[in-house]
């Protein structure tokens, strides 16, 4: 019953489900497909999560997000159905796997989080300091509900961030520099942990940026983080990585975070997204 209700959510998209990377596929099936295709300790490290995925708590978060998305809100009392996530107003299918992307109305490359902020402010009339816009973390935040719902509409589709616009390319390339840029008191960079396959930090198997089947899971956010008991975003993952590297707090509204995300999404290009995912 639980499962049935949740599966009704993407049912319109699920018509003609196949392994094809341009049609919707349930996240647990996407992950199983990847596991079947490669030998990866990272993908298989949590048997419990694999069993739990059909009942992923993030599916509830997505349902809350759908409600929020379709409800007229903010001082302007409009829904987010007029928000363009890159494929036209209100079109969510496949939108997330093609982000970050350049948006002409903002003259800026945006990830999903920054695009949501843009629409909540310009369309719905929220102030950037309103809790709806400002609170980014936790399953109960509007952001996590909306991001999970929107991202889920791209599950099973191949990451395909556009690089046609010069700004998209510029940020992707700067993000690559950031990924390999060592600094700080511990001399780390992203590659310290994500440059080799099969490496562990304590008991946790790390995803390798150079193994696309692992990397798609690594960047498949939002995901329910079991250890946090909350759904988490890409921006939350980046914040945590810089914290572990002993580097300063990254600004989620800044272009540095979007550059890094442009690079990491490009590194998973062609692989199917697992949305929402479940992580340790």
């Amino acid at each position: 019953m639980f499962k049935k209700a949740l599966l009704a959510l993407p049912v319109a998209l699920a018509v003609g489900v196949s392994a094809n990377a341009d049609s919707w596929q349930a996240p647990e099936d996407v992950l199983q497909g990847l596991i079947d295709s490669v030998d990866s300790n990272y993908l298989t490290q949590s048997e419990q999560n694999l069993i739990m995925m059909p009942d992923n708590p993030a599916l509830w978060t997505a349902m809350d997000g759908e409600e929020l998305f379709k409800t007229p809100r903010g001082p302007n009392n409009v829904s987010l159905e007029a928000c363009d996530f890159g494929k036209g107003p209100g079109v969510l299918e496949g939108a997330y796997v093609e982000m970050p992307r350049y948006f002409e109305d903002a003259d800026r490359v945006m990830d999903l989080e920054n695009r949501l902020v843009h629409c909540m402010v310009t369309l719905q009339g929220f102030s950037p300091d309103d809790p709806e816009v400002k609170a980014r973390h936790g399953s109960n935040s509007d952001h996590m509900k909306l991001q999970t719902y929107i991202a889920m509409q791209s599950s099973g589709m191949a990451w395909n961030p556009p690089l046609e616009h010069p700004l998209e390319k510029a940020l992707r390339d700067a993000g690559e520099v950031m990924f390999y840029r060592r600094s700080g008191i511990a001399d780390f960079n992203c590659n310290t942990c994500h440059g080799e396959q099969g490496k562990r930090i304590r008991a946790s198997v790390l995803p390798s940026k150079d193994a696309p089947e692992e990397w798609t899971k690594a960047i498949s956010w939002p995901a329910f983080r079991v250890g946090h008991d909350n759904v988490r975003s890409s921006q939350h993952r980046i914040r945590g990585c810089y914290w572990q590297m002993r580097m300063p707090r990254i600004n989620p509204n800044g272009d540095a975070s979007i550059a890094l995300m442009s690079y990491w999404t490009d590194a998973a290009r062609g692989q199917p997204a697992i949305l929402p995912d479940m992580k340790r």
Binding site: A170, A174, V177, M178, R182, S183, G184, I201, R202, A256
Partner: protein, 232 residues
């Protein structure tokens, strides 16, 4: 906000040039475009520096545990620059040699020579990941001792699970003995491992000031003391 480091000063000058260039071509009426720099006119390296230091990419003015601000955690020193290779892997041999030479020059030894401290304290330091983290949760060094996070990357005693980013150090002293040469090697590896493995992933725990001499002595005891569970 900026400390006058050469890197920061260079970037600031660079930004001013771009700013001036942007104004020159912009219509007088389009003032909103004038404070926008052209990302596409920069190299990826220039843009990365700009995004980090000039475009509000990070919180750079927070105080850090070693004194100063978070800015310095993003400013690269010579080793950082030499060992940041796009795509991963090592730089050329001449660069590796220069890193190795600089590492050798960075190492200082405790007065009275390398000593083994308390392996029980070393066990906790090797396990603890506490220290030097900043941002949304900042480690208060007055509340807890800084750890070395050795278990993140190394297996040591088998009663706890260690990572495998670095080699296993299980049975370290038992298999290698405690000669002056091996003690010096282990000390150097903790203090500045680039002397043996230029551009290694491992932090320079002594050269960076991350760990105190006392903490290093305790970790060495954990590695070498016959009583330590590492050598069971």
């Amino acid at each position: 906000m900026f400390k006058k480091t050469p890197v920061a000063a260079g970037i600031a000058a660079f930004a001013i040039i771009l700013f001036a260039g942007g104004c020159a071509v912009a219509d007088a009426g389009k003032t909103d475009k004038m404070d926008k720099v052209d990302y596409t006119a920069m190299t990826p390296q220039e843009l990365a520096e700009y995004l980090i230091f000039e475009a509000n990419g990070f919180v750079l003015d927070q105080e850090v545990q070693e004194g100063g601000t978070t800015m310095q955690r993003m400013v690269q020193d010579d080793l950082h620059k030499a060992c940041s290779v796009i795509g991963g892997g090592d730089p050329d041999q001449a660069t590796l040699d220069a890193v190795r030479t600089a590492a050798a020059e960075s190492i200082t030894y405790p007065e009275g020579g390398i000593q083994l401290g308390d392996w029980k304290k070393g066990r906790e330091i090797a396990w603890s990941g506490f220290g030097y983290r900043v941002g949304h949760r900042t480690d208060d060094h007055s509340k807890r001792e800084v750890g070395g996070n050795c278990y993140n990357c190394h297996q040591l005693a088998t009663d706890r699970t260690g990572g495998n980013v670095g080699p296993s150090l299980t049975g370290y002293g038992k298999t290698r003995g405690t000669s002056d040469a091996i003690l010096k090697y282990a000390y150097d590896m903790i203090y500045n491992p680039h002397v043996y493995f230029p551009c290694t992933n491992m932090p320079r725990f002594g050269a960076s000031g991350f760990l105190t001499q006392e903490a290093i002595a305790d970790i060495l005891a954990y590695m070498f003391d016959p009583e330590s569970p590492v050598n069971e």
